[in-house]
């Protein structure tokens, strides 16, 4: 796809990424992406979850090395091997998760790592420290006590301290990852004032957000990424909300798996008023036999937390869960498994696999009781179970004893799916089952979902990939900020409509 011609801009580029590609374990995260950053210019980076925004930023901030393509600083190729090196070259990043040192003062945090100090013994000159911190905050017109502890600041204030810190490093490029995700509207305005200051000082800003109105308020140009590819770069004035959303999602559906044309049976899972403070609120839904219920939303919408509560991984504060009409108490995962609920967790590394164990041992972990006589594991039974799982899901390994960490992302994911299937659930929760796996494996997962539905399983499919949920679901719930805001018919809705519900206003 071609980019539209850039409007003529006087200033020369500070930082440029040219045809950058990056893969992780064989999965393309960025393919041939280019980005040009100019002084005093706010460049918004837009795309769905998993479009490659974070990877691109991390490449610019020195956290990832590129596989191919080049990074140019002031027109000269440069290699950024670490965040430290990026910072030395004037590239700073404000992460979404801020990491202040809470018990140091504001001034100490701002000048962390380059404190004004005597050459001998590195004795810190506290007065110079304070006045330098004061100067940096003044440049941004921020009013904060420099001797106060970081601990007492709000998220928004910590953010401004981080920005001052970047200025202290003479940052010429500032990368901001969803800076307004966790701050109030009033604070957003204050942040925008700070950004205006930075623009005046000639800093180039990369701004990532999911909030549409913000983009049009502060961005000068917008680069849209989709599936790791560069869709295009546009002047912000030339786009509107509708056309931007269309660019973000507008891909033709790829691998077409036929939708589960399964006969729908009785309601198997009913959730009523499920709540957990700070995560999700008053969520209710039903799933029937042979039905695929899609749940989508942006990151942080509370989807994962909500289904984790159904599976007993986190506790809910209130609400009722019924399985086949009978109220059940789910206090831990074993309870959920006993009631026939299985779940494929979102984060394979953190919650899915035991990397130190073999493929076979990972697969049978949730159903070891089925191949035991008393406390003893029957090896033959276990091998048979694992073998069946490997065949059903076509898992490619050198054998059941291979270390699970050596498998590709797609095969690792199949091991996690096989594990939950071997426990024989009638209700299966799939949380982002295709994240980080290649297109071929995605197709196989889609086919599996359809097949399970035909077998009469009830499926809850949580996914941020809109084409995926729209294709696979019989009904679709949209969550936003912890609540279900819409129930849609996937055959009648569009990605644009879903995004309209999902986006925070």
């Amino acid at each position: 796809m071609c980019s539209q011609p850039h409007p003529p801009i006087a200033a020369a580029a500070i930082l440029e990424a040219r045809n950058v590609s990056k893969s992780f374990a064989g999965v393309k995260a960025l393919a041939d992406v280019s980005l040009t950053l100019r002084p005093g210019h706010v460049h918004a980076l837009m795309g769905e979850n998993g479009a490659g925004k974070s990877t691109l930023m991390k490449v610019l901030a020195g956290l990832h090395a590129v596989d191919s393509g080049e990074i140019l600083l002031d027109g000269r190729p440069i290699r950024l091997r670490s965040p430290r090196e990026a910072l030395r070259n004037g590239i700073a990043m404000i992460h979404q998760e801020l990491t202040p040192i809470p018990d140091l003062t504001v001034a100490e945090n701002i000048l962390l790592g380059h404190e004004p100090a005597a050459r001998l013994l590195g004795w810190i000159d506290r007065r110079a420290l304070r006045s330098e911190a004061r100067r940096l905050l003044d440049l941004l017109q921020i009013d904060l006590p420099v001797t106060g502890k970081m601990r007492h600041l709000s998220v928004a204030q910590v953010q401004t301290v981080e920005i001052a810190k970047a200025l202290g490093h003479n940052a010429r490029v500032l990368i901001m990852d969803e800076p307004t995700a966790a701050i109030s509207d009033r604070e957003v305005q204050a942040l925008f004032n700070v950004i205006a200051m930075l623009k005046q000082r000639g800093v180039a800003i990369v701004y990532i957000t999911h909030k549409m109105d913000e983009v049009f308020r502060i961005a000068d140009s917008i680069t849209v990424l989709r599936d790791g590819s560069h869709v295009g770069t546009y002047p912000a004035a030339g786009l509107d909300r509708g056309s931007l959303i269309a660019l973000m999602v507008g891909r033709p559906l790829g691998a077409v798996a036929s939708k589960a044309a399964a006969p729908k049976g009785e309601t198997t899972l009913s959730v009523r008023g499920l709540s957990r403070s700070g995560a999700f609120h008053n969520v209710s839904f039903d799933v029937r036999q042979g039905e695929v219920l899609g749940i989508t939303g942006l990151m942080g919408a509370g989807r994962t937390e909500m289904v984790s509560a159904v599976f007993g991984l986190v506790a809910a504060d209130a609400g009722e869960i019924r399985v086949a009409g009978v109220p059940v108490r789910i206090r831990c995962v074993a309870d959920a498994i006993r009631h026939g609920i299985g779940m494929v967790t979102e984060d394979r590394k953190a919650f899915g696999l035991v990397a130190t164990m073999s493929v076979q041992h990972n697969m049978t972990l949730a159903s070891l009781g089925d191949c035991c006589v008393g406390p003893l594991i029957r090896r033959a039974k276990e091998s048979a179970m694992a073998g069946a799982g490997m065949r059903t899901l076509a898992i490619k390994t050198s054998g059941p004893r291979q270390a699970v960490g050596q498998l590709s992302g797609g095969n690792q994911q199949k091991v996690v799916i096989a594990r939950s299937l071997l426990a024989g659930p009638s209700i299966i929760i799939l949380d982002e089952p295709t994240r980080g796996i290649d297109v071929g494996a995605k197709g196989e997962v889609y086919a599996l979902v359809a097949q399970l539905a035909r077998q009469g399983k009830s499926i809850v499919l949580v996914s941020s990939e809109l084409p995926e949920v729209l294709m696979l679901s019989d009904r679709l719930l949209v969550m936003r900020q912890g609540s279900v805001v819409a129930e849609l018919d996937p055959s009648r809705t569009s990605q644009e409509e879903v995004l309209r519900y999902a986006m925070p206003l």
């Binding site: 991984l313 074993a334 050198s398």
Partner: protein, 324 residues
């Protein structure tokens, strides 16, 4: 470097890789054989039946402790209270083992029970209280030592029935402590490899979150590991008391460190999930052979400590290098 998935164990990766694999799996056994051969060449008194039996006799107590703490380390935890628990169990057992007092079985059982109680307490505070194992068992190290001093009045508990001291004797020319170690090892090895709970020990240490998501009761697995470790420390305490024919409240200081060192030399990861009884026994044996060899070579005990320390760190460093 792992082989490409398509090739077999000795497939196209070639002999160099096969050698590396062999070394990784049996590196410690090979080291043991090399050191043994060197010692046999250096001193005629090493490779004699009497000396070899002496070696295994000396490692028995450390071995029992090491097997117990292997379970804890596999779950990703640590137990620093072992030495104190050994002393407490010894004092308790000795207190019940005056001649004509109680049957020796009762005395031994009381010692083991004391150890089990300490281990269970560790497990309880770690799982229910959520306090780090390092801190909890550090506390138990002091508490158990204090209990041993209280129970004994600070003095060695002597006048032990010969029935109990027989636990440190020989049967058919083999030291009883060695037979106990063999039995404990065999059962533990079979348990870890063949039971559900054994598998869960590895899963919890490998990835606690994933274990929980697979429906495993993580707390119960940890409880089990600490309690078993305590029970085996109790057993070690009874054996030690039998060997020195007294309950010594000041005995066994820092035994936990020797045990942990042996386990780690044997390839069990301190972060959990990797390792096993075979490695632990090799580690225990390696430390025993080196101790014995240095004694035979008349190396001063001051230098022995230095050498031992270097070997511990060196062995783990080599192990890490091989795995990368």
């Amino acid at each position: 470097m792992p082989c490409p998935s398509e090739t077999g164990p000795f497939g196209r990766c070639g002999t160099a890789a096969a050698m590396r694999r062999l070394l990784r799996q049996f590196g410690i056994v090979i080291a043991l054989m090399l050191i043994g051969a060197a010692l046999a060449a250096a001193t005629p008194s090493f490779f004699t039946a009497a000396n070899l039996i002496n070696v295994v006799r000396q490692i028995a107590i450390n071995g029992i402790l090491a097997v117990g703490v292997t379970f804890v380390l596999l779950t990703g935890g640590v137990d620093l209270s072992l030495g104190s628990v050994v002393a407490l169990a010894g004092v308790i057992a000795a207190g019940f083992a005056h001649p004509g007092d109680y049957p020796v079985v009762v005395a031994a059982a009381m010692g083991i029970l004391a150890g089990t109680a300490c281990g269970a307490t560790n497990g309880l505070v770690i799982t229910r209280g959520g306090v780090a194992p390092f801190i909890v068992t550090l506390g138990m190290m002091t508490v158990a030592r204090g209990l041993a001093l209280v129970a004994s009045g600070g003095k060695p508990v002597s006048n032990m029935s010969p029935d109990l001291t027989r636990l440190a004797g020989d049967i058919l020319g083999l030291p009883v402590p060695v037979l106990i170690l063999a039995a404990v090892s065999l059962v533990s090895w079979a348990f870890l490899g063949n039971t559900r709970l054994g598998r869960y020990v590895y899963a919890v240490g490998g990835n606690e979150n994933a274990a929980r998501a697979a429906g495993i009761n993580v707390n119960r697995v940890k409880m089990f590991a600490y309690t078993l470790c305590g029970a085996l420390a109790g057993l070690a305490g009874v054996v030690l008391a039998a060997r020195i024919t007294t309950g010594q409240p000041n005995a066994a200081v820092a035994y936990e460190l020797d045990a942990i060192a042996a386990v780690v030399i044997g390839g069990t990861s301190l972060s959990g999930g990797v390792g096993g009884i075979g490695g632990t026994l090799s580690g225990v044996l390696l430390m025993g052979v080196i101790n014995n060899g240095l004694d035979l070579l008349n190396v001063s005990s001051y230098y022995q400590q230095i050498i031992k320390g270097i070997i511990i760190v060196g062995a783990v460093w080599l192990d890490r290098r091989q795995k990368e």
